[in-house]
Amino acid sequence: MTAIVEASGLVKRYGATVALDGLDLSVQQGEVHGYLGPNGAGKSTTIRILLGLARATSGRVTVFGADPWRDAARLHRRIASVPGDVALWPALSGGETIDLLVRLRGGDVGSGEYRRRRAELVERFQFDPGKRARSYSKGNRQKVALITALAHPADLYVLDEPTSGLDPLMEAVFSDEVAALARSGATVLLSSHILSEVERLCDRVSILRSGRIVESGTLDELRHLTRTAVSFERDRLSDAQLAGIPGAHDLVVAEGRVSLTLDSDAVAATLPALGDLGVTGLRVAPPSLEELFLRHYGDELVDA
């Protein structure tokens, strides 16, 4: 595996604000890498540095082995991106904007392949390319950026909250498209607040807080760091029996159901004990990304 994106000790300061504070990030070839973090954590800043739109204050960063600040123009022939804040020229139509931006990436908008692909995306996203950008709604502005990124193939896709403003139907279309990119072997860096999306699409996830990576790994690896939720019917089980369940944390009885959590790597060891008790209505929920997320976001709330 080769690293497509490699950053170490990345620092970015805006005056007194420290946007990135010694960030390490690595995105491997062919993976879909989820990039999560609360508002203001530094996701967009990282992405702007990777695209050569901002310059790191210090630290090392390479994209395809090159310095994105110095070689931005050359690298962008291989990179498709969706900005966190989609800006359009009010007087240009959506269709004109898409063609223009693809041309700027070095694409040939006259080719049959491009025209087919564009027509397909326009159709799938139910987008009207014949209106001036000033009259597009938020979701439609976002579609301009998405179609631009997807209409011309790239080796690396850098997507900053790509589904913001899309309705659920369009979100699903977008997920399909990213899944297809993954199958075709492209590398994707996807910043997002939508956990189900990340859980479904991403091979690996990095979680960012206050300009530093606080967690990074495959979803499975990260799940080990959290607890699995278990619940079952109380029936006629005694308090003593419940207290005897090995490895149980946070045991609560409410509305006739018992809920507890287990360390994720201890679930298998506990299940026989539950079997011996003859519990009914057993439900075992693997930790969701949401919990992971809340763990890190929650800290922030406590800190604050």
Binding site: S81, D85, A87, L88, W89, L100, L104, R105
Partner: protein
């Protein structure tokens, strides 16, 4: 209900109405007073009208010569300008109370009430009439206060107010048609300017009667509400029939607008916003193509402005020739100001060249300000996310500014030369080379200003726009007014235009132009280096 709405709007707009009224009043007081002091004797007024009648540019800019009394010359000088102001006031007022209000959603709330849809529109008409009664009354008062005869002043005021009412009606109709409130304002402004231009053509192409210092305008003037103001000939004839025409046209337009309103949707005009292209044209590629596409409207607009300025400048050479041929006393005074007699024409050509240069500098600075606007709005990042480096993006926008400014200089140079030569084919009003060369050689000075603003963009992006205006204003002030206001020579030398080659004089020096071009290139190069070091600044 109607009165309540009208009272509400008048309250809301009272400050604007007060400012307009006072401004229109003061303009009339000062103009009337200035005429009394500038042209005290009939001979002075006959003299200036004689020049005007052989100088179409003056007729276009001023109006119809209608006699030699102080009132007549006041009408000649100010009637068309005052009418334009009143027309613009009426336009903005009507659009604010109709389409702009609809777009804010206020009219929708009103339309839902029993009051019905016509009510806000009728209130807008009434407010327009009130505003024009104020405007006409203020004008008449100002003229009387400036010392002009009472009856003529009242007729002049009535004529102006009636033309304003005609504009209210016509703008109301336009507001029903235009796709958006913004375009309604634009079309309305265009209508006022077209009315001004139409009567300009009428005056320039009219039949002069030198014996009585009057002129019969061409038929075009009869189509223009501003022409109707002139047609009342206040102080000379006090003819009120054109006033009636203006009021009838205004009323008919209001009636038509109300009829159209019944069939259109709230918030939309009869003419829908046009469909745009679904794919990019072959020219829309690269940062230069994008800049050209985004700015083509303003480049064309500026170009037309440059042609008009050139035509007027070339035509005004008549003024100089007339003065050269006039009494010895005038020629003597002129010589003291501008050196020997033959240099006087050259000096005049250079002065016109300076004006065109400032226009070109404004075009260039506007192009440089685009750098900042694109950066702040996010358009720059969208381009830089493609395979385009910062420097290429920067140079593309600078190049477009240079092309637009150079184009304006070239068309203005040709227009001025043609205007001067068509009146005096013998070259006595300046040769083609003198006019064209003088104007086109303003380019190095324009480049210096452009390069300076571009450098500011690279160093302190947020200062680009204020500094741009400041540099432009300073160069214009020093270049055009420095000599008149006794500004020290070393300060005047700071203005790039004072170093433009004096091609219209004998033995011009091109050293300054060379240095300015070199300086501009160095500054742009420096800007490129500095730009490589900084982020996008939102």
């Amino acid at each position: 209900m109607l009165l309540a709405l009208l009272r509400f709007r008048l309250r809301r707009d009272r400050l604007q109405l007060a400012v307009w009224t006072v401004a229109l009043l003061l303009l009339m007081v000062f103009t009337a007073a200035a005429m009394t002091s500038t042209y005290p004797a009939v001979a002075d007024r006959v003299g200036v009208l004689r020049i005007a009648m052989v100088t179409p540019a003056l007729l276009v800019l001023r109006g119809t010569p209608q006699g030699t009394s102080l009132g007549d010359i006041t009408v000649f000088e100010i009637a068309t300008f005052q009418a334009v102001l009143i027309g613009l006031m009426s336009t903005f007022l009507v659009v604010r109370n109709t389409r702009a209000e609809e777009e804010r959603g206020a009219a929708e709330a009103l339309a839902a009430t029993a009051a019905g849809r016509a009510l806000p529109t009728v209130a807008a008409v009434l407010e327009g009439v009130v505003a024009n009664v104020l405007a006409g009354g203020a004008s008449a008062l100002g003229l009387i206060a400036g010392g002009l005869p009472t009856v003529g002043s009242i007729v002049f005021g009535i004529a102006l107010g009636a033309a304003g009412c005609a504009f209210v009606g016509l703008e109301l109709l336009i507001a029903q048609l235009a796709p958006t409130g913004r375009s309604a304002n634009g079309w309305g402004t265009a209508l006022v300017l077209a009315s001004y231009a139409l009567r300009g053509i009428g005056d320039a192409g009219g039949t002069p009667h030198p014996a009585s210092s009057t002129l019969t305008p061409g038929w075009e003037s009869a189509l223009s509400p501003i022409g109707w103001v002139q047609a009342t000939r206040p102080y000379a004839a006090d003819d009120l029939r054109p006033v009636l025409l203006a009021l009838v046209v205004g009323a008919l337009a209001v009636w038509a607008a109300l009829a159209v309103q019944r069939v259109r949707d709230v918030g939309a005009g009869v003419i829908a916003e046009g469909r745009a292209r679904r794919t990019a044209s072959p020219a829309l590629r690269g940062p230069f193509g994008l800049a050209a596409r985004l700015q083509r409207g303003s480049v064309i607009g500026w170009g037309i402005g440059a042609v008009l300025l050139g035509l007027i400048g070339g035509d005004l050479a008549n003024l100089v020739l007339e003065q050269l041929g006039s009494t010895a006393g005038v020629a003597e005074a002129v010589k003291r100001l501008g050196g020997s007699g033959s240099d006087l024409l050259g000096g005049f050509i250079i002065a016109i060249g300076g004006f065109v240069g400032i226009l070109a500098a404004a075009i260039a600075v506007q192009g440089a300000m685009r750098l900042r606007q694109e950066e702040a709005a996010g358009g720059a990042d969208a381009v830089l996310s493609g395979a385009v480096g910062r420097i290429r993006w920067f140079l593309s926008l600078v190049a477009l500014a240079v092309v637009a400014a150079a184009l304006a200089l070239v068309v203005a140079g040709i227009a001025a030369a043609l205007a001067a030569l068509s009146a005096h084919p013998d070259g006595s009003a300046g040769t083609f080379g003198a006019w064209f060369g003088t104007i086109v050689w303003q380019l190095p000075a324009v480049l210096v200003i452009l390069a300076l603003v571009s450098l500011v963009f690279a160093v302190a992006p947020r200062a680009t726009i204020p500094v741009g205006w400041l540099v432009l204003a300073a160069a214009a002030f020093l270049g055009e007014l420095g000599a008149l206001l006794d500004v020290p020579q070393w300060v005047r030398d700071l203005a790039p235009f004072s170093h433009s080659p004096a091609v219209a004089l004998a033995h011009p020096s091109f050293v300054g132009a060379g240095w300015m071009t070199l300086g501009a290139v160095v500054a742009i190069g420096l800007a490129c280096v500095l730009l490589r070091r900084r982020d996008t600044v939102p």
